[in-house]
Amino acid sequence: MRTATDGLATGLAVLSTVLVVAPLVAIFVYLIYKGASSLSLAFFTQVPKPEGETGGGMANAIVGSAVLLGLASLIGVPIGISGGIFLAEFGRGTKLANAVRFTADVLNGVPSIVMGIAVYSLIVYQQKHFSAFSGGVALGIMMIPTVTRTTEEMLLMVPHAVREAALALGVPNWRSVLSITVKTASPGIITGCMLAFARVAGETAPLIFTALGNSNWSVNLNEPIAALPLQIYTYAISPYDDLHRLAWAGALVLIVLIVAAVSLVRYVTSRGVLKGAS
């Protein structure tokens, strides 16, 4: 009887694992199947055609996403890394650091659409027009907590002896942090930033009413701009088969970017690249 229960429990655990893996496999297979058959050179080089016409691409959305993400990184990466440096190097064990860490974790769980509303009310409402700038700010703010936490974790992996060695040579603390500790952890920090980058690359909700989307070519920060996830959303809920195909192709491009980033992070953290560098 007890062995039977044991077997049953094992079976249920295996079953749930299969049930979890199944949708992932289904999503990937379908995405590759649909996306690869819709990808073409035109997808990367042309702007969308008017509704109902076949052909066209998402060049404007790809460039738009690049502009938004560049702006977001300019905001999120320096502030996030500095916050992480504080947590790992200056504030270790202090009440302030614990509060910052806790707030960063909680902030990570705040729905991205709420971030969109806040930025809307801060920038779009005041300026009275949607803009690429506001979209970039929304994404940048979302990067900060992720970058802060991963930077901290990477810095904590740097052995203490390295720091002590630098200080013993009379190197000032700020320089020891920047060119010894941070440099040692830099592969990890860079991949952490890429992870945050990949996460906001797929964010749609905060862009709906900040960057708004644009079916024409635009790189002006003061005007609405197209973005890959936004375009996927608009196309997915449109009634045209041709646009659905473009949405699948866009989704494939997005997912390749994200899987690459996640795999890289996995590689860096598991292979102990940090140890090699130190």
């Binding site: 007890r2 996030g80 910052v100 729905p111 709420v114 009379g170 320089r175 942090v177 980033a261």
Partner: protein, 359 residues
């Protein structure tokens, strides 16, 4: 700032006994070269202190962001708050002509968030119902049963599941999941459970609470499962060995030795998953149907707090409409802050002392 004094301390003893004052030979020349180098690179307490405060400032920006969101939302939702008060979240309006309850009427300026609160709660609850057993099963399998060879790839796969953007889940749900549910699962649900009144046959699109619940379950699975795994890993091995030594089978060991010790953390993980489900926007917006109504049937279409914001915010008609939507956002913000804080505290209570992990 103990580090700052630390950094100064080694500088003084460096030129210590003989060559401190007496410039003599090669050793002194070398010493001064080092010192010159250090001076060139800004060896000063001011730079150190400035750097320290810059880092503190950046860390404090996290609080700044929370404060910014809170003030913007409060300011912008003030109009709706003064108009409707707390009743905004649970009162319906009675239409003077049809005598039916009305919830959301931007044209006439009637706003009540009740159907959205209902939609969010129902879809999140369905998601938890589906996701929690699977997530715990997966975590048990990965930590206690899985052959070592499979462990890393499976963990990586769940990590990937967490990294897929919600718009791609939505895309997949619209074209694969919803048709699948509509053709194969819903008729079966109606046949088997139709008598409860929870599954009615009057929504041919397949868009509705059930679809939203299923896609949400798939999306929150990885977060629940990875945290549960972390919590179970934090249970000391001696607990497992002790239970096994008493002659327990593997399942009994897991139940008594691991799950019982980790239960607070698991509750935390589930609450964190709930937080994700409450605020999830894109995938839900794409499959829930977006109609502001309350129906008993789970197969009916509805609308959630996040989805109504996503749908109407950019084209809000007038200040009151915008303000009402912002108030829904504020409610979402407050609820997710509380839920996440609670969940983090519970998980911390169990994993405190265990090494930090990158998810």
């Amino acid at each position: 700032m103990p580090e700052i004094s630390n950094s100064q301390a080694p500088v003084q003893p460096e030129p210590s006994p003989p060559d401190g004052q007496q410039p003599a030979g090669a050793a002194a020349a070398e010493g001064s070269a080092i010192r010159q180098f250090l001076l060139l690179r800004g060896n000063s307490a001011i730079a150190d202190r400035g750097f320290h405060w810059l880092m503190v400032l950046c860390a404090l920006s996290i609080f700044g962001i929370v404060a910014l969101i809170a003030t913007e939302l409060v300011v912008r939702s003030h109009l709706a708050w003064s108009q409707f008060g707390l009743g905004f979240f649970f009162k319906a309006f009675i239409d003077p002509y049809s005598k039916l309850p009305m919830y959301w009427d931007p044209v006439n300026g009637h706003f009540s968030a009740l159907p959205f609160v209902y939609g969010t709660l129902v879809s999140s609850f369905l998601a938890l119902l589906l996701a929690v057993p699977l997530a715990i099963g997966l975590a048990v399998f990965l930590t206690e049963m899985c052959p070592r060879m499979l462990r890393a790839p499976l963990a990586f796969v769940t990590e990937l599941l967490a990294a897929i953007p919600s718009v791609i889940y939505g895309l997949w749900a619209v074209f694969v999941l919803v048709p699948l549910l509509r053709e194969h699962v819903n008729p079966w649900l109606i046949k088997l459970l139709g008598w409860t009144g929870l599954f009615n046959d009057d929504n041919p699109t397949g868009l509705g609470f059930v679809s939203a619940g299923v896609i949400l379950a798939i999306m929150i699975l990885p977060i629940i499962s990875s945290l549960t795994r972390e919590v179970m890993n934090a249970v000391p091995g001696s607990q497992r060995e002790a239970v096994l030594a008493l002659g327990a089978t593997r399942w009994e060991m897991i139940r008594m030795g691991v799950l019982r010790n980790a239960r607070i953390g698991i509750v935390g993980a589930v609450i964190l998953g709930l937080g994700r489900a409450l605020g999830e926007t894109m995938a839900v917006t794409m499959v829930i149907g977006n109609t502001p109504q309350i129906q008993r049937s789970l197969l009916a279409s509805g609308s959630s707090m996040a989805s109504v914001i996503a749908n109407e915010y950019a084209e809000a008609s007038g200040d009151l409409h915008l303000s009402a939507l912002t108030e829904i956002g504020l409610a979402l913000f407050i609820v997710t802050i509380i839920v996440n804080a609670l969940a983090r505290l519970l998980v911390w209570a169990v994993t405190r002392g265990a090494p930090a992990q990158v998810h």
